[in-house]
């Protein structure tokens, strides 16, 4: 009898052959070894297929193309030189044309509008005990930077100054990042407008009182202003540092926001990352990816395709979120129209602050928990940590005194000038982040801004040492000014500051005052030291 086709055998093995035909084939198998082998092999194939498919597919990304990147030494040196030249030229051009600060008047703590803004933000900040977080954060990040510096220093020394691949690649990345800033178009004025008929082909940097985009920006849009309105199209990313940002047109890239309020009523291709007082996605708003925001009030009425991560004191969701909704903060409300495609997880202070309407749709699990604030004073670990931090602060104080005795002692004295130090300190505390941002948006200024950031955090950390030493001096009134006296004063002052720092609300205020005073004293001394008349 004639053999069956392979396809018929395959259908048979799948159990899909008609009953009669299957019986005939089975009869045939009893006599034909060739077909029997074929059927066995097909069965094995099916088994392997099912087994392999059962495991999740691996992502087929092959990083080989990158790891094989090798450049000869000559090319490497050329690249380094080109990078340095490019960076230098861009920095010089940039510094020449920098006119941003005028547009940032609202952010300036000494202007009326800046002052109200600062007061508003600071009151919110105290209420949430943010200062403690800032200093802790400063300590952690400061330590990280120190490690990074030490590590890279050791690496460079170990390699005898030869810039090997990682450094080379970093430079190449910097170089490529810096290239687009050549194609940067800058506009400054009271009203900056891109009319509907206009298309800006480059990245646009706009600063002014009101910036309005009705046409098309083919590159990124960087804005420093009071009010920004995007009614047209931004093909790249939008970076906004404004008091108020309204997007009713479309942004095809990401939005990086540091505005006091952000309203999205248009189309966004990718994600929003931002920090704002109030954050609002209107019912016509559409976010192509996800959102990660920290804000006082968040309201989501439109659509977010992927996950939403929200840190807010008050969040209302009535639109749809394609994936997970993660929220931490005060209260969360999901109305009847809310739709969450993944899990809902919320960390709130009180469970009654979460309202989920019956009609709200949540596809995944609901995980709503209270942020249990167990008193830290009951844990022995807390005392251990405090002791370590205290010892570290004493050590840093001692090191400072040994290495820079004059500077450290005069910083301590400068704290005594009270209002001058406090005022200067507030200015530095608010102004330096601004300078960091301004440096960072120039792209090539990123290393500079990182260094500034590290110095800023280090100064915040050192602030308590000067203030502590000053406090100890006032209390102990030592006769001499030996190192021993200074350190004893520091010990007493730091102890008092540490203990006072744990008083609710007042503690936060004391910590902030301490940071401002210390920063102000530091800034004043830096200024004095830079004046030749004094140093001479």
């Amino acid at each position: 009898m004639e053999c069956y086709s392979e396809q018929t055998c395959a259908i048979f093995v799948d159990g899909e052959l008609a009953v009669d035909e299957a019986r005939q084939l089975r009869d045939h198998l009893a006599t034909c070894r060739r077909c029997r082998d074929l059927v066995d092999a097909l069965r094995a194939e099916n088994r392997v297929l099912s087994e392999s498919l059962r495991e999740l597919p691996e992502e087929a990304a092959s990083p080989k193309a990158f790891s094989r990147l090798r450049l000869s030494r000559v090319w490497g040196d050329l690249a380094v030189m080109a990078a340095v030249l490019a960076l230098g030229s861009i920095v010089s051009v940039w510094i020449d044309e920098l006119k941003i600060p005028e547009a940032l008047e609202w952010f300036n703590p000494f202007s009326p509008s800046g002052l109200t803004n600062l007061m508003f933000n600071l009151s919110d900040y105290f209420a949430h005990g943010g200062t403690a977080m800032l200093t802790d954060y400063a300590a952690v990040v400061g330590g990280f930077f120190l490690l990074l510096l030490l590590g890279s220093g050791a690496l460079l020394l170990g390699r005898r100054g030869r810039l090997r691949q990682p450094g080379l690649r970093l430079l190449i990345v910097l170089l490529t990042l810096s290239l687009p800033s050549f194609a940067l178009e800058r506009r400054h004025g009271e009203f900056v407008t891109v009319p509907a008929s206009e298309t800006v082909d480059d990245t646009l940097l706009a600063s002014g009182n009101t910036v309005r985009v009705e046409g098309v920006v083919n590159g990124d849009l960087l804005v420093f202003c009071q009010t920004l309105e995007v009614r047209g199209t931004v093909k790249g990313d939008l970076m906004s540092f404004a008091k108020r940002t309204v997007v009713s047109g479309s942004v095809e890239g990401h939005i990086y926001n540091l505005s006091q309020s952000l309203d999205l009523d248009g189309q966004l291709g990718h994600s929003i990352y931002g920090w704002a007082q109030s954050f609002h996605v209107g019912n016509r708003g559409h976010v192509g990816d996800g959102i990660v925001v920290g804000a006082g009030d968040v309201s989501l009425e439109g659509e977010v395709k992927r996950s939403a991560t929200i840190f807010a004191s008050n969040a209302d969701v009535s639109g749809s979120i394609g994936r997970e909704l993660t929220m931490a903060g005060g209260s969360l409300t999901l109305t009847n129209t809310a739709r969450v495609g993944g899990n809902l997880s919320a960390r709130v202070r009180q469970l009654k602050d979460v309202h989920i309407a019956d009609g709200a749709t949540i596809a995944g699990k609901r995980d709503i928990q209270m942020q249990v604030r167990k008193s830290q004073f009951t844990r022995p670990r807390f005392y251990f940590h405090q002791a370590v931090w205290f010892a570290a602060a004493m050590l840093v104080g001692w090191l400072g005194l040994v290495l820079f005795p004059g500077f450290f002692q005069s910083c301590t004295q400068a704290v005594g000038s009270g209002w001058r130090s406090l005022g200067l300190g507030v200015g530095v505390l608010a102004g330096v982040p601004l300078a960091i941002i301004v440096a960072a948006v120039t792209l090539v200024g990123i290393p500079l801004s990182l260094m500034l950031f590290a110095a800023y955090l280090a100064a915040i950390y050192l602030a308590k040492i000067w203030v502590g030493a000053f406090l100890g001096r006032i209390l102990l009134k030592p006769a001499g000014a030996t190192k021993g006296d200074w350190l004893l004063g520091l010990l007493v002052g730091l102890l008092i500051l540490t203990i006072v720092g744990f008083i609710p609300y007042l503690g936060g205020l004391v910590r902030l005052g301490m940071v401002c005073l210390g920063l102000g004293a530091f800034a004043w001394q830096l200024y004095q030291a830079s004046r030749p008349a004094i140093t001479a």
Partner: protein, 207 residues
């Protein structure tokens, strides 16, 4: 502002207790899910999300669209689970739903056109090849599974979709035909061709 006024007084959320759900048998979980019990729906999500994602990942071309499709499946499940009558095992039913979702996605991309095109007449009869010449199971077995998975991912949609529906979702030819709008013998041919294509890819690689 409207949101605040519309604020519905929802049930008070409780702290999540997952322990009792995990031990429960599937039937009672499904029953509770059909009664719109959020915890039960969450449990189904926990148990099957990987399986559903796996199918979507094979059916669709990117991780993102697979993730999107997966969450869409579980969103729709809240409404559709009521129609599950227990006549087939639940995992199979769920994978059928997920398969439909993926086919919808593919169809939308082609602006409503049929996802899998029918193979030409007469192609159903394929000459028997001698087993010695076809790599089949023994050769595939020697390959790493990852290679096989990669090869499946690289198959054209026309071949990949029926193959995955057959061997991942374990649907019958008729069910696949229904989902794809194809004749039964067309399904058989597409699956057979998909396997041949796979053998060719793997044989080529192992040379």
């Amino acid at each position: 502002m409207d949101i605040k006024r519309n604020k519905a007084k929802g049930p008070e959320p409780r702290e999540v207790k997952t322990e009792p759900m995990e031990g429960q048998d599937l039937e009672s979980v499904i029953e509770r899910a059909q009664g719109h019990d959020a915890e039960a729906l969450g449990e189904i999500h926990r148990r099957y999300v990987q399986r559903v994602f796996g199918l979507c990942r094979y059916m669709l071309d990117s991780r993102e669209s697979a993730e999107d499709a997966t969450s869409e499946v579980f969103l729709k499940l809240q409404r559709s689970i009521g129609s599950y009558d227990g006549s087939i095992p639940f995992p199979r039913w769920l994978l059928r739903v997920a398969g439909n979702q993926c086919i919808d996605v593919l169809r939308r991309r082609r602006r409503g056109q049929q996802v899998i095109v029918e193979v030409e007449d007469g192609a159903t009869v394929i000459e028997a090849t001698s087993p010695e010449r076809s790599p089949l199971g023994t050769v595939i077995r020697m390959e790493e599974k990852a290679q096989l998975q990669a090869a499946i991912a690289r198959l054209p949609e026309n071949h990949r979709v029926p193959l995955v529906l057959r061997y991942y979702s374990e649907l019958s030819y008729d069910e696949i035909g229904q989902q794809l709008g194809l004749q039964r013998n067309n399904v058989a041919t597409l699956i057979f061709r998909a396997k041949q294509e796979l053998r060719r890819k793997l044989a080529h690689r192992s040379k």
